[in-house]
């Protein structure tokens, strides 16, 4: 570690920040100039220009390029029509990726929302509710990579002698032989999902717990006096009252699951039958050097979120109409 390692990096940071401030000042000056002449279109242009430019160059144009690239071969030199897509739905490895992804996007949102909901109901109004919430919410602040390290330690396997992983140690305490969890297809998929559920339950709990505060307590009290059991109250009063929040949580976790890359990369590298779309996309493009297949995987990923986009946009327009 040389001193130049520090100066290089912080020097870059200083230059970057100064340049950024200069850009902001220039934009501000331009906006001021346009404002004085009372041209709101010009002012709007100045305010929007940086964001729109970034999004066009960094998201819109690349997305279009990616769609085009999915019809080309691995280095983009030859047009091959739908060959990449045929590969994606016929090749056994690619099919495994699609099957795994399907499992992920069904199991993780369901499990996270369910556990989050049950926990939110259990701790609602309890003494120390904030502490309970914070403990489960904490993993939200941990990176997927950090979480992967944490859980790899739990799944760790030793052929003989003392176990290091907590899960195998518990098996040993119960008298069972230890298992090399991450190699056990298809169970390893489930164990990877556990990591994401561990993170997302906190999100579900916080959002649903806030929604629960809006459930009228008189209703619960009345149902209780009429002799309803807590489980009946849960299904007939609590769940219907916060249905829209549950849906929002489910959709948000769904998108996060679909884009999941880190956990698979850091825990199995996609080996032993655990690959998913977002990781395979990266693997194809940046490790195996096949841009066409990588792009195809990205497009499939995109296709899966299109229903969500349509749903969200319609939802928003409806809300706007109601607000008017």
């Amino acid at each position: 570690m040389d001193i130049s390692d520090y100066t290089d990096r912080f020097g870059l940071l200083a230059v970057g920040l100064v340049a950024f401030i200069a850009v902001l000042l220039a934009l501000y000056g331009l906006a001021e100039l346009a404002s004085r002449r009372d041209r709101s279109r010009a002012v709007a242009f100045v305010f929007l220009a940086p964001a729109v430019l970034f999004l066009l160059v960094g998201l819109v144009y690349p997305a279009v390029r990616t769609i085009a690239m999915s019809f080309f071969n691995k280095d983009g030199t030859e047009f091959i029509g739908f060959d990449n897509y045929t590969w994606a739905v016929t090749d056994p490895d690619a099919l495994q990726v699609l099957t795994n992804t399907a499992l992920w996007i069904i199991i993780v949102p369901l499990l996270s929302t369910m556990v989050g909901l049950v926990y939110a109901v259990l701790i609602d109004g309890r003494k120390g509710e904030r502490t309970y919430k914070a403990l489960v919410f904490l993993p939200m602040g941990i990176s997927f990579v950090g979480a992967s390290i944490i859980w790899k330690l739990i799944y760790e396997y030793e052929r003989s002698g003392d176990q290091i992983g907590l899960l195998n140690q518990m098996l040993v305490w119960l008298g069972a032989p230890p298992v090399n969890w991450l190699l056990e297809d298809p169970w390893n998929n489930l164990l990877l999902m556990v990591v994401l559920v561990w993170i997302e339950v906190g999100f579900a709990t916080v959002v649903l717990s806030a929604a629960l505060k809006g459930v009228p307590i008189e209703m619960i009290e009345a149902a209780r006096i009429d002799g309803a059991k807590p489980t009946e109250i849960f299904w007939h009063i609590t769940v219907p009252s916060i249905r829209s929040a549950i849906l929002v949580v489910g959709v948000t976790v769904f998108i996060a699951t679909l884009k999941l890359f880190d956990i698979v990369r850091a825990m199995t590298g996609g080996h032993h039958g655990t690959d998913v779309l977002a990781h395979n996309m990266w693997d194809q493009a940046f490790r195996l050097g096949n841009d066409g297949r990588g792009a195809t995987m990205a497009v499939l990923l995109f296709a899966l979120v299109i229903p969500v986009v349509i749903y969200q946009v319609r939802n928003m327009r409806r809300q706007e109409l109601e607000a008017r």
Binding site: P50, V60, R126, D162, A278, M316
Partner: protein
Amino acid sequence: MSTDVQKPSRIGETRGQRLRRILSSRVASVAALVIAVLWTIPTAGLFVSSIRPEDDIRDTGWWVFFTDPGSATLETYNFVLYSNTQGGGLIRNLINTVVITIPGVLVPVAFAAMAAYALSWINFRGRNLLYIGIFALQVVPLQMALIPLLSFFSRGLHVGGVTIMPAWELDGVNTIVQVWVAHAIFGLPLAIYLLHNFMRELPGDVMEAARIDGASHSQIFRKVVLPLVTPAIASIAIFQFLWVWNDFLVGRTFGGGEATRPLTAVLGDMAGSWGNNWTRLPAAGFIAIIVPLLVFLLLQRYFVRGLLAGSVKG
């Protein structure tokens, strides 16, 4: 628990007290406690492992540490941060993370605030369409952009033989600039959406009064809107901070060589191979985790506010 039901409501009871009186049960208490403990053990295990001597980590589980708490050591931390041998020297990557994170938060938040103001308070044609477009971009997976964006940085942009943008030709530490730009791009849609939500709810007559007093848009933005949405900006900045600091994919793809990648990107690869050095991963992992965790705990209120604004409304 059924005897509680008969009691009439009491005056001055809080919602929680009332709920407890109606619904409390032993089973629920135990279940809540079990979940809370289950969710905490994994992180606790990592921390305990990180302060054990390396030989102990290799030989026994972290729970054995409690039979000999005197063995606690910071040796592994020292090694992973400062050692010049393989698997050490992560201080460099930690600095990379800091250098990446500061502009990676400031740039998108500043640009998003400007865009959100224009989208909520300046009248121009096509405003709604533009907003819906940005709103939809939020959901587009960033995987859609990775390959072309990387080639944009390394080869520039050419249309039909005409060079629109030359290659950036960054190397060494300077590749961090690519990571800044990538984070700014990917952070914008959500930041614009959230800030737009907050700004639109500002009272219109305040803006109107400022306009009548002769204030320009840029003055209103700076003197009226920004102070009013400071809490919102704080929550979005925390979001973006956590996202950038914890990011693996963007840093790994755009971060150049190993020496210029952020900490999380290097750790992700180390965890992936889980080689002989794996005993150093708990300490290295904890270094990466502790900063966002502290920020998260201290500023949780702001984070939750942003979360609720973004998800419950949308």
